[in-house]
Symmetry: none
Amino acid sequence: MGGMKAPEDLLRRIRQGNRFLLTSHINPDGDAIGSELGLARLLRGLGKGAVVWNHDNTPTIYKPLPGSERIHIGEEPPAGFPDVFDAIIVLECPSPDRTGLEQHLSARPVINIDHHLGNQCYGAVNWVDSAAPAVGEMVFRLAQGLKVPLEPEVASCLYLTLVTDTGGFRFSNATVAAFEAAASLVREGAHPEQVAQWLYESQPLAVVKLTGEMLQSLQTHDGGRIATGRLTREMFERAGAKPGDSEGLIDQLRSIAGVDAVALIRELPEGGHKVSLRSRGEVDVEKIARHHGGGGHRNAAGFTIQGEGEEVRREVAAELGAALGS
Amino acid sequence: MGGMKAPEDLLRRIRQGNRFLLTSHINPDGDAIGSELGLARLLRGLGKGAVVWNHDNTPTIYKPLPGSERIHIGEEPPAGFPDVFDAIIVLECPSPDRTGLEQHLSARPVINIDHHLGNQCYGAVNWVDSAAPAVGEMVFRLAQGLKVPLEPEVASCLYLTLVTDTGGFRFSNATVAAFEAAASLVREGAHPEQVAQWLYESQPLAVVKLTGEMLQSLQTHDGGRIATGRLTREMFERAGAKPGDSEGLIDQLRSIAGVDAVALIRELPEGGHKVSLRSRGEVDVEKIARHHGGGGHRNAAGFTIQGEGEEVRREVAAELGAALGS
């Protein structure tokens, strides 16, 4: 089982080159960073040079990955670019503009390795496998094709890409290939417990306390089809939390069985409330947000509003109720 | 790779029997329920009778598992017991008293299938593999030994045991064997996305409210290396929650950055407290649990204890502190 092997022309390009520049998309995620760092180290193991260059900073949770401190960041090219590089390997990026470094890509032949369905095949070599659970899994197949043994650090980088892109093996791309690659990577020394610790067990205490505060304010409406939560300034103080700490807390409301729409009403330091809305399926919350001068998409939107907190909750719950009925 | 094969005397016992009673431990978890339901259905697929009998109710999150509605619950034996049964298969249970049905176990030969290190080998046949990531993975190997193809429903039951016992592939028992079993089970029709929805996205409102109550009781100790939470009977009442609803809540404590050991102290309806312990790396909580007459593994263990709740918290925090220092 598993996906197709890495293509011969890709293997040849890599065997022939001596020094590679690796990049990915702006706002890099786990698959971008893990694939870059894993492949860079793998290339160095073959005696080749490899430099990772990203437009944007590495998110904090990926900084423990081995080699992350060596990533070159920003619009200014790394030393010797482009002359010292034989090719630019672009990982997990459907189109050149998404690298944030498009103006530099024409300086060297591009090797495009991706799993996005709509990849524009913009490379001199293009390996696009939309069935791959993560690009990191393709890098693993590339290592097999190059017959290079994986170091434990490479295995952990690639294992992380599987975890982040499959939502911790919870999404529909948690396929046989994903689990087989995970088994192989763990055999080569990837450390699932360590990776999980980086990704999931590093919540600031204040965020966990704020979650408790928010859940204490939980109310349901319309026979349980709507859930609302509030975060007051007092709650932030009690939890020792900063405004950014409420990011993602609305998912706790979304996790409730039978709920079709949720709202989190957060009191702003400067007064007024930020209302975040989430919905399932056809329930359109963007329309509600737009009505209040905000925006978003059908299933995720937000706006700010003045007024007393519990009044705002009642109004928002009523508007969500109307959206459910429509 | 993977663990040792199911032993021949076990395979013979199962081939020879016609009707089996299956049980596990009190307060059954995902590995208990998933292994029971998976094995029961597997035995029925071989044309044999199988009845699952548990002392305690099935936790809500495991009720979507196929066959859960047929589990016989309570101290009153199921119809025809013991005459109609050839053997009693006890799954994931280190000692007979932990079944809650000990007085009935002598009525028929016991087949003991478990992965607890301290299993007392109390059966006529004992298959104990402490390296198994979950007993459900042993049931999978049993199915291979019996050469019975897995139905998708059986595969999903056994896949769920891997997910719950490895903490969603986040614990140190997320081994090569765990991922290889997951790959095989997905190939046989297990549905990771569906299982994840059961476990993580269909939370009863009471469970979410109970999470909020528990987080309000959160305390940290030893400079943040230990976190403890409590669940009192009043909290269960306020949340409208049942005893089984606290399953998995301890993970909220584990998610805190810098924490090496956590304890959740739950007041029992009949008085006393259930203490659940989790740890990282080398910190051994099984030893603490064993000292109090409980059991488990190095990084996940539990026991029951009498006393006042906050006193229990202080005592447990002190013992965890000692375990950190050792």
